[in-house]
């Protein structure tokens, strides 16, 4: 598949002696939305962290836009410019204002002028529906607003792929939908996304491909309806029935 933006082929990752990813393969096409789910400790975070090289895999191949990732700092710098990431804990910079959080990457890493970076930041703040909070500190915002700032911060780097690692798990229930709504809008605009989440409503709505992982392996993948209605494996069926009960 030549137009795959991200391609993982037989990726293996060990934490010390612990085998966290076992011959894991996944292909993400341009504009495709992939949802990854699975029980705790199954390696979901490890997959996304390997894609942007916050963790280095030991075996196998990861290609971004057809170019293989190596340990070369240039290669790492290239992924960082093409892959954005949204964390469960937001990880906003508490000593900076919202606007400064958003302009730091574009100004320092991309060499944008402050003026252009601010215009871009305000544009994306608008897109995540919080145009008025630019001069506040992250701590003055609600969790849902903070996560939307974090999404805007990633968007300011204009990445080709956006990774989300359980973006709503640290949020109070009433704030989950405001973040999911923003993510659905991004999906509708054609953003390529890899989302680790247990929000099955979101998966059903936007996922082109849903991956169910267990113990560092893909157990099953396919269209969400397919996994929901007739999963082939017992593990997948059990897991989905558990989380769909809530």
């Amino acid at each position: 598949m030549p137009d795959a933006v991200v391609e993982l082929v037989d990726v293996n990752k060990w934490y010390g002696a612990f085998h966290a990813l076992k011959d894991f393969s996944l292909e993400i096409g341009s504009g495709e939305r992939v949802v990854i789910c699975g029980p705790s400790g199954s390696g979901k975070s490890t997959v996304v962290r390997c894609i942007n090289q916050l963790e280095r895999h030991q075996k196998g191949t990861i290609r971004i836009d057809g170019v293989e990732l190596t340990e070369d700092p240039k290669s790492v710098a290239r992924i960082r410019s093409e892959v954005g990431m949204v964390f469960q804990q937001f990880n906003l910079f508490p000593h900076l204002t919202v606007l400064e959080n958003l302009t730091l990457g574009p100004v320092k890493a991309r060499g944008l002028s402050r003026k252009d970076a601010e215009a871009r930041a305000r544009h994306y703040l608008e897109r995540v529906h919080i145009p008025d909070q630019a001069d506040k500190r992250p701590i003055q915002l609600s969790g849902g607003q903070q996560q939307r700032v974090a999404i805007a911060r990633s968007l300011c780097m204009e990445p080709r792929v956006l990774l989300f690692d359980e973006p709503t798990s640290a949020l109070d229930p009433e704030m989950i939908s405001e973040v999911l709504d923003v993510m659905v809008e991004l999906a509708e605009d054609g953003m390529t996304m890899v989302v680790v989440t247990h929000e099955m409503g979101f998966a059903r709505k936007v996922a082109d491909n849903m991956v169910f992982m267990d113990a560092g392996e893909t157990v099953e993948q396919g269209k969400p309806e397919h996994l929901f209605t007739n999963p082939r494996s017992e593990r997948c069926r059990k897991f989905l029935s558990q989380i769909l009960q809530h």
Binding site: R80, N91, F93, H95, L104, R110, A150, R153, C156
Partner: protein
């Protein structure tokens, strides 16, 4: 307790001064001409003590950061560099290190074909800075490690390199926890600067030693010397407390 201690000490000294034959405060009695000359002579070491301490502190702050950074690396080799430096430097008593720098280093330089003389001033500064840097390095390391890992990961994912991550994300947050202990370390440097007297540096302690030789009044002169250091340390302590209050209120104000 601390408050009561100072007036008590002064009281005891004053009482001793007036009642006992063994005290000869006249040597540093500022109301007499010779006493005033002596006090001025003793206090004239203050400038050198402050200069040495300040320059050494600034150098220690710089060297400490440079030594701390490899200690935070994920690579074992870099961490080892940090450990070896810190453990080694920390284990050397100040006086031997001072002798080594002042008497030994010029020989090392000469053997390398360099003609770099080391005067007492720079000998003292180098020794104090290097010796103290092992401690400042540990202060930096603890301060930086107290910043959650997610911060540097977020910085990396928006494309910042190592230097930019430190400069714009980690250090501005860590500085609150680093500055107060760093300022405390400055008190340590001021006190240790007294050792510079043994290589001939004309600072507070050296002045006192010289006056003792001519006046033969060690008790009174060294008492005044102690109070000179006390004065310096009290000033720094006040500065540290001011700094801590400011940082604390900054944190709450966020």
């Amino acid at each position: 307790m601390k408050r009561a201690f100072l007036p008590l000490t002064v009281l005891v000294l004053v009482a001793g001064c007036s009642s006992s034959q063994n005290w000869g405060w006249y040597v540093i009695d500022p109301t007499t001409e010779s006493g005033w000359t002596n006090v001025k002579f003793l206090a004239s070491g203050m400038g050198a003590t402050i200069q040495i301490s300040l320059i050494a502190a600034v150098l220690s702050i710089v060297i400490g950061l440079i030594v701390a950074l490899p200690g935070l690396s994920e690579k074992r080799g870099w961490r080892l560099v940090n450990r070896v430096y810190v453990e080694f430097i920390r284990s050397i008593p100040l006086l031997p290190m001072l002798f080594w720098v002042f008497y030994g280093m010029p020989i090392v330089f000469r053997s390398m074909g360099l003609n770099i003389p080391i005067d007492p001033f720079w000998g003292a500064i180098i020794t104090l800075a290097v010796s103290d840097s092992a401690f400042t390095a540990e202060i930096y390391r603890a301060g930086i490690q107290s910043i959650a890992r997610g911060q540097s990961e977020a910085a990396q994912t928006i494309g910042l390199n190592y230097y930019q991550t430190m400069r714009y994300v980690i250090l501005p947050q860590a500085i609150r926890r680093i500055l107060p202990p760093l300022a405390n370390q400055f008190i340590y440097i001021v006190k240790m600067s007294a050792f510079a007297s043994v290589i001939g540096m004309q600072e507070l302690t050296r002045r006192a030693n010289e006056l003792v030789v001519t006046e033969y009044r060690p008790l009174e002169i060294y008492t005044l010397l102690i109070f000179e250091y006390l004065l310096l340390v009290l000033i720094i302590s006040a500065g540290v407390r001011w700094l801590e209050r400011r940082m604390g209120s900054d944190e709450r104000g966020q």
